[in-house]
Symmetry: C2
Subunit: 179 residues, 2 copies
C-alpha cells in the first residue's frame, strides 16, 4: 500500500547481508530468505529485478548465488528502489487544465508544467535526494554498530552449517546405473 513496496525492504535487508565483507562467496537467495524468515520465492523474484538493473550479478548452477556488481559504497538506496519499483512517479498529473470548460471554449492553451505538478515534482526531488544520500556501505556500518560483536562470524557459521547439511543430505550418490 505504501509507495515504497515491501519488495524493497526485503531487497535492502538481503543486500545488507551481502554487503558484509565476509560474504566474498555468492550467497543463494534461499539462504538469505530463510535466514530472515521471509518468503524465499519472492526474494528470488526481487533479485531478478536487481540483476536486470545491473546491481547484482547472478551465478547459476550448484553453489550459485548473488554478489554485488559494484562496491557497496557505490550503490544507493535510491538505486534499489528504482530497480524494484520502476521509478514510479510520486504523482501522475492528468492535465486537468486542458479539460476546463472555459479553456476548451477559448483558443487559449496552457503552456509549461502545471503549478500543482511542479510542487509535487519538487517534493519528489527532495525525497530522491535524501534517498540517494545513503549508500549500502553506510547502512551496513550503522547496522553493524548496533549489533553484538562477532555477529558477522555467526552469520558465516550459519551459512556454512546450512551448506554442510545440504551436502550430507546427498544420500547414496550414484550407485545405480541407468534404468
Amino acid at each position: 500500500v505504501a509507495h515504497i513496496s515491501t519488495g524493497v525492504e526485503y531487497a535492502l535487508h538481503c543486500l545488507l547481508y551481502l554487503a558484509e565483507p565476509a560474504s566474498a562467496a555468492p550467497a543463494g537467495a534461499r539462504d538469505l530468505a530463510q535466514l530472515q524468515g521471509i518468503p524465499a520465492e519472492y526474494v528470488a523474484k526481487v533479485f531478478t529485478r536487481l540483476e536486470k538493473a545491473r546491481l547484482v550479478i547472478a551465478s547459476e548452477g550448484l553453489r550459485g548465488g548473488f554478489r554485488l556488481a559494484r562496491p557497496a559504497a557505490a550503490i544507493s538506496v535510491l538505486d534499489v528502489i528504482d530497480a524494484i519499483d520502476g521509478e514510479k512517479p510520486l504523482f501522475d498529473c492528468r492535465e486537468i487544465r486542458g479539460s476546463c470548460a472555459l479553456v476548451t471554449r477559448t483558443a487559449w492553451k496552457p503552456r509549461g508544467t502545471c503549478a500543482i505538478h511542479a510542487v509535487m515534482l519538487e517534493a519528489e526531488a527532495r525525497m530522491r535526494e535524501a534517498l540517494a544520500a545513503h549508500s549500502l556501505a553506510d547502512l551496513a556500518a550503522r547496522v553493524a554498530a548496533k549489533l553484538p560483536a562477532g555477529f558477522g562470524d555467526e552469520v558465516a557459521d550459519w551459512l556454512a552449517t546450512r551448506a554442510a547439511a545440504r551436502a550430507a543430505n546427498r544420500r547414496t550418490p550414484a550407485t545405480k546405473v541407468k534404468s
Copy 2:
C-alpha cells in the same frame, strides 16, 4: 497507483478555484466538477473528507456549497494531502530484524528504529517539508500569473450562467395542490 492519489489532484484544483477572492459565495461541488470535466460525485466524496479535516465549511440546502474554513495562505498542500490520503506513511517497516534466525535464537533484542526505516523516515520528512512550504494562496497566484487577464471574471460569469439556467429550469412552480 501513485502515492499521492487522484483525489488530491481534484481537491487541489477545486480549492484553487475557491481560493479566488471573487468566490465569496459558497460554490457547489457539482459546479466545480463540471467546470473542469471531472467526476462530480467523486469530488463530493473528496470534499466530505476535507470538511472532516476542518479545511472547508459546508453550507447545506439550496444554494449551498463549500467555502474555505481558513485564509488560503494558512492552508498548505500537505494539509490537503493528509486530509484525503490519511497521513499514509511512505514506507511501513515490518521489523524484519526480529525475525532473523540468529536473533530469535539468542537473547539479543534490536532496540531503536531500524536503520532502513530511519532513512525512509528522513526522506519522508524532506518530502513533507517541501509540500508544507507551499500554500493555496501561493499556488493560486502562480496559476493566475499564467492565465489570461480577466479569467476570474469569466469563471464568475460561467457560474452565474449556470445558476440562472437552473433557476429558469424551475417550471410552473406550485400551481398544483396535493394529490
